[in-house]
């Protein structure tokens, strides 16, 4: 492969002496060689960091934690409740899930992590780099996490959140 020469300044053309090349950059004077020689390692280090960052950014940065779960569809007489007060549930992605007050939730099944409820009164999604439609998972009056409807996985809450509810 032919060496690549980049002129550091104008004023000289034609054949380049090999000793004037510093990491692909051609210097025209000893002072310039010294200056370029000092800056090149920093430039290379900066480029390397930039490359690492750009590679890192090409991937999904934040993932929703997904655990295996088995959903058993409900029962002839599903439970339901009215959420009396809003609640905020965190899942460790930086995106909290807000449960709206005065929404009615109906049981659609049970899992090892609790009962699974859905509602028609609000859109429920969990979010990180991607967004997943979900249902609420409740055990003993506390939100334990979310059931991802398409992925069929459980996304745990950072910590259980108590709900103020009225049975329907």
């Amino acid at each position: 492969m032919e060496p690549f020469y980049l002129r550091a300044s104008s004023g000289q053309t034609g054949n380049m002496s090999p000793h004037t090349v510093v990491s692909g950059i051609v210097a025209n004077s000893p002072a310039e060689q010294h200056r370029i020689g000092r800056r090149t390692p920093a430039f290379l280090a900066g480029s390397f960091v930039f490359l690492l960052l750009s590679i890192g950014c090409a991937f999904d940065v934040v993932q929703v934690k997904q655990l295996p779960v088995t959903l058993t569809a409900t029962l002839p007489a599903p439970k339901a409740f009215l959420l009396d007060a809003g609640a905020k549930v965190t899942i460790g992605t930086g995106f909290a899930v807000n449960l709206r007050a005065n929404t009615t939730w109906q049981e659609i099944g049970t899992t090892q992590f609790g009962e699974v409820y859905s509602t028609k009164d609000q859109v429920l999604t969990v979010e990180a780099s991607n967004v997943y439609e979900a249902a609420l998972v409740v055990r003993d009056g506390q939100v334990t996490g979310f059931y991802l409807l398409i992925e069929k996985k459980f996304c745990p809450a950072t910590q259980p959140v108590a709900l103020a509810t009225t049975p329907q």
Binding site: L53, S54, C57, A58, F59, D60, Q122, V123, T125, E127, S129, N130, V131, Y132, E133, L148, L149, I150, E151
Partner: protein
């Protein structure tokens, strides 16, 4: 020098404008949208922001290309009830998974966020009341 700056500004504006939707607005086009078939559901996809207007990534639903996401544009997709994954790709792929029921309409807003080299377009499921309001000024960009 002034001519060069003017030319560059013109080129920049042209490039940005080419990314904007140019069809009829939702309010105008609504009458042309066929009624939803009883055995199907419908997803409206729209993008309100002009931010990142030069970005118009393909929108895929379960891997099928259904059109491009253009600034201030909308399109819709009729489908059988079931599970769907909507994705858009720029330097990264952003996905939304959602369920569509029979005769259900859902609204997906395509947001734009900062990226490393280029912006990211990501789909977000929104409440129908919000979606129905926000889509009004968007222009049809469907196939």
């Amino acid at each position: 020098m002034k001519t060069k700056i003017l030319f560059l500004a013109f080129a920049l504006v042209s490039a940005l404008m080419s990314g904007c939707a140019s069809g009829p607005s939702f309010a105008t086009y609504k009458a042309s949208i066929p009624p939803l078939k009883p055995e199907q559901g419908r997803i409206y996809l729209y993008r309100t922001t002009v931010l990142g207007a030069a970005l118009s990534p393909v929108i895929k639903v379960n891997g099928t290309d259904i059109g491009a996401s253009k600034a201030q544009g909308f399109l819709y997709y009729d489908c059988a009830p079931g599970e769907y994954v909507i994705e858009t790709s720029t330097e990264v792929t952003r996905k939304l998974s959602l369920v569509i029921a029979k005769e259900q309409e859902r609204y997906v807003r395509l947001n734009v966020s900062m990226g490393f080299f280029v912006g990211h377009v990501y789909p977000e499921l929104v409440e129908n009341a919000i979606g129905a309001k926000e889509i009004q000024d968007c222009k049809y960009t469907g196939k």
